[in-house]
């Protein structure tokens, strides 16, 4: 029963494929795999916008949306209708073709990454040999879409936003990849399925997730920081910096195209979160051995939502960084840490299991982390100040 | 701080300056010191830097418009009327030119005293409405002098950036002058106040009568006038 529930989607697909002739089976199989993803993740996007607005509202002591439907649940639908019925405005001097293509490309590129995300046991669109590489390769297309949007709008704000976005994305792609390399090293494969399989199994009730190792937790933290920057989320939302350059590269978009940017941003966030789950949080595996009866995809989405909640929490708390600080964070902290972390993962691999391994590996990452942090603080010369009062 | 002693101190420090005490009859007791334009900057620098004075904060700068007055009086004159000297009563109008006055309120942050009120007057309200700018002495006067330039029309010589502050650059008049009449091309809200509309329309027709067609056309388009009357008819 558990087995069947776990594999219900896989079995359904096979059952449906039984009705089509063998010659059409590959294409039908592809369609049957892709369509749920194309529907499911936008649906998740809708739910997330609602969750985000609700959660942010509560963080800020507000109710959040509560007028459309029970608990404001229909808010995403209302938003969709609103954005669909809005006038689509294209600036007169804009490069119309590129202006049109940019959101389409962005949304399309955001979808591509899902091909290699294992969202459940036996539930991956393509079990690609170089899955992680594929993921990062299609991720880089987003930059181009962002540039197209910013450049084609012929607006100074959008150009500023595009420049910021590209600079930020390029800078953070390096730490993102480097942070994920530790997991690849341990799994010995670029295939996402293999990485998840490597993290299966339990010691007692405790899972073998990579995040429960010194290099894993550092890698995960670095990956999440870089992923936040990569998906333009607060506190790294400079490209769209509401209060500075208004909406950045998509300032000149309205209506459905604007919604596509929104969709693209959230899909990117889901994809990178999904990749973080795959790389460090054991993919679809249950957190405790006694919970394995819950279907694998449930676990995947539960972890995804947990990470998204973290994103929302951080967004509701932190102010935005400045461009140069963002860059110095990437180059002075995250990049060295990621490189060290790779060394740490290597040492972990070659040291015999035991307390000593734990101690050594923790020390290797913890000490530089503190030192780098202190250095960063000293370089920037910021401190909590004390104030004097006039007599 | 006695204004008298300040005055004498200033006169000693700035040779040739003409200072005048202006009494203030109100209970506030804030008497002021009228300085002449030629020595204004020197006096200001002295006020700021003299160790006993140290008025380093120029808090408030503002303008006052004193429009010219026309006074008519009956004068008895000896005149030749029909070949004989006669005493004739005659109306004589004297026109005082009026002036624009700029007032500076100074305080001292260092010595915590103040205020001392400085006044400067222009010669008239038109061509000679020039005064030296005290912005080089007190930076705080920068925007306020611009505002006075904008709203009163005092030209501050030596101001680093004398542009209109609140009104738009194409605007010609100076709205804070007492004789300023607002243009009627405001978008008057149709209101219950027939009085407003009546005044607007009246002013409009006056303007039309005063100016040849072209100027009126620039200021006030035909449609605006129609709109106003429509609003009035509502």
């Amino acid at each position: 029963m558990t087995q069947a529930l776990d594999q219900i989607f896989v079995l359904t697909k096979q059952w449906l494929l039984g009705f089509v002739p063998a010659s059409a089976q590959p294409i039908c199989s592809a369609i049957l795999s892709v369509v749920p993803v194309l529907i499911g993740f936008p649906l998740l996007f809708a739910i997330t916008t609602w969750l985000e607005r609700k959660g942010l509202g509560r963080l800020q002591n507000r109710y959040g949306p509560n007028r459309t439907g029970p608990y404001g649940l229909f808010q995403p639908i209302a938003d969709a209708i609103k954005s669909l019925t809005k006038e689509d405005i294209v600036p007169l001097t804009a490069d119309h073709t590129v202006h049109f293509l940019a959101p389409v490309l962005l949304a399309a590129a955001s979808f591509l990454g899902y091909a290699v995300l294992p969202i459940g046991r036996n539930m991956v669109l393509v079990n690609m040999n170089a899955g992680v590489l594929y993921f990062f390769a299609v991720g880089s297309v987003v930059e181009l879409a962002v540039f197209m949007a910013g450049w084609s709008s012929r607006s100074k704000y959008s150009l500023l936003g595009a420049m910021r976005a590209i600079a930020q994305m390029i800078s953070y792609e390096v730490p993102l990849v480097l942070a994920s390399i530790v997991a690849i090293m341990q799994a010995g494969s670029l295939s996402t399925v293999a990485i998840v399989d490597k993290q299966a199994g339990y010691t007692g009730i405790w899972p073998h997730w990579f995040v429960f190792t010194p290099w894993g937790v550092v890698g995960f933290a670095l990956f999440m920081i870089a992923a936040t920057a990569e998906s333009n989320r607060s506190p790294f939302d400079l490209p769209e910096g509401e209060s500075e350059i208004i909406a950045g590269y998509y300032i000149e978009y309205s209506g459905f195209k604007f919604a596509l940017f929104f969709l693209g941003e959230y899909l990117g966030m889901f994809a990178t979160s999904g990749m973080a789950i795959t790389l460090f949080l054991g993919g679809w595996s249950a957190p405790f051995s006694f919970l394995t009866w819950i279907p694998s995809y449930v676990w995947f989405f539960a972890k995804l939502l947990a990470l998204i909640a973290g994103f929302i929490w951080i967004r509701g708390t932190l102010p935005r960084l400045r461009m140069d600080q963002l860059m110095s964070l990437a180059w002075e902290f995250i990049l060295p840490m990621a490189l060290l972390n790779m060394l740490d993962a290597g040492i972990w691999h070659f040291m015999p299991a035991g307390v000593l391994r734990w101690l050594v590996c923790t020390a290797i990452v913890a000490v530089p982390c503190v030192l780098l942090g202190q250095g960063l603080k000293r370089n920037k010369k910021f401190q909590v100040r004390t104030y004097q009062f006039a007599k | 701080m006695n204004l008298e002693t300040i005055k004498s101190e200033l006169e000693a420090a700035v040779p040739g300056c003409r200072l005048e005490l202006v009494a203030n009859p109100s209970p506030s007791g804030q008497h002021s010191l009228r300085i002449d334009a030629a020595h204004a900057v020197a006096v200001a620098v002295c006020l700021r830097d003299a160790p006993g004075l140290r008025f380093d904060l120029c808090s408030n700068v503002t303008g006052i418009d004193w429009p010219g007055k026309q006074t008519t009086e009956k004068v008895k004159l000896r005149k030749l009327v029909d070949g004989t000297q006669q005493e004739v009563e005659e109306l004589r109008t004297t026109t005082t030119p009026g002036s624009l006055e700029v007032v500076y309120h100074l305080f001292s942050i260092e010595k915590k005293h103040g205020p001392i009120v400085l006044r400067m007057s222009t010669q008239d309200r038109d061509a000679n409405a020039h005064l030296p700018s005290l912005t080089p002495v007190w930076r705080s006067a920068e925007l306020q002098e611009r505002e006075i330039f904008d709203l009163f029309g005092v030209v501050f010589d030596g101001h680093p950036d004398l542009r209109r502050l609140l009104m738009w650059d194409e605007f010609v008049d100076h709205p804070m002058r007492r004789d300023y009449v607002g243009p009627d091309d405001y978008e008057y809200e149709p209101t219950a106040h027939d009085e407003v509309l009546r005044r607007a329309n009246q002013h409009l027709s006056e303007a039309a009568a005063k100016l040849p067609s072209e100027a009126v056309g620039n200021q006030q388009s035909e449609t605006d006038g129609n709109r106003l009357s429509e609003g009035g008819g509502r």
């Binding site: 590129v98 170089a130 390769a137 880089s140 297309v141 181009l144 390029i170 494969s189 | -």
Partner: protein, 166 residues
């Protein structure tokens, strides 16, 4: 197979031709990315998965972006002022056409180029890694050195003179 190849080839050629022919420099780069992506797809079709993905990552994700960045930073007039092409564009085209003719003639007349497709090889990423780390470790090291040198060189060359004086 053939159809896929034809489609990809058409896309690639169209993209690259547009990249070399369009007047607006940014359009050129955008078209170029299409061409690069087409080439990457052809690599994938030739079972060179790793190279294909690397191609996308390097060319689309880095070179194209660098190019547009350079275009933005050099304030290239968009679209370019009428003489988009060099003064000896005719000569250049003729040379290019001649090169193609010679190459095409050589390819068509070559016996080796008509051979059939061998069976699909097993190329896992692990194998590539192994090869890089064992057989090709020296080139890899040199490549690393080269990339470092290029990185430093690029930074030094492109560095703003004002920054240097600080």
């Amino acid at each position: 197979m053939t159809v896929t190849f034809l489609i990809l080839a058409v896309i690639t050629v169209a993209g690259t031709a547009a990249a070399m022919g369009l007047r607006n420099a940014v359009h050129c780069v955008l078209a170029l990315t299409v061409g690069f992506a087409g080439v990457a797809a052809i690599y994938l079709q030739l079972d060179a998965q790793f190279v294909g993905l690397t191609q996308i990552m390097v060319y689309v994700g880095a070179v194209a972006i660098l190019a547009v960045f350079a275009i933005m930073m050099t304030h290239t007039p968009l679209p370019a002022k009428p003489p988009t092409y060099s003064s000896f564009w005719l000569l250049g085209s003729v040379v290019a056409a001649a090169v193609f003719a010679v190459l095409a003639w050589a390819i068509c007349s070559s016996a080796a180029s008509t051979q059939g497709l061998p069976p699909e090889p097993e190329v896992s990423v692990q194998q590539i890694g192994d090869a890089l780390m064992h057989q090709f470790v020296l080139p890899l090291e040199i490549m690393g050195l080269l990339l470092t040198a290029a990185l430093i060189g690029a930074v030094v060359i492109a560095m703003d003179r004002r920054e240097e004086t600080k």
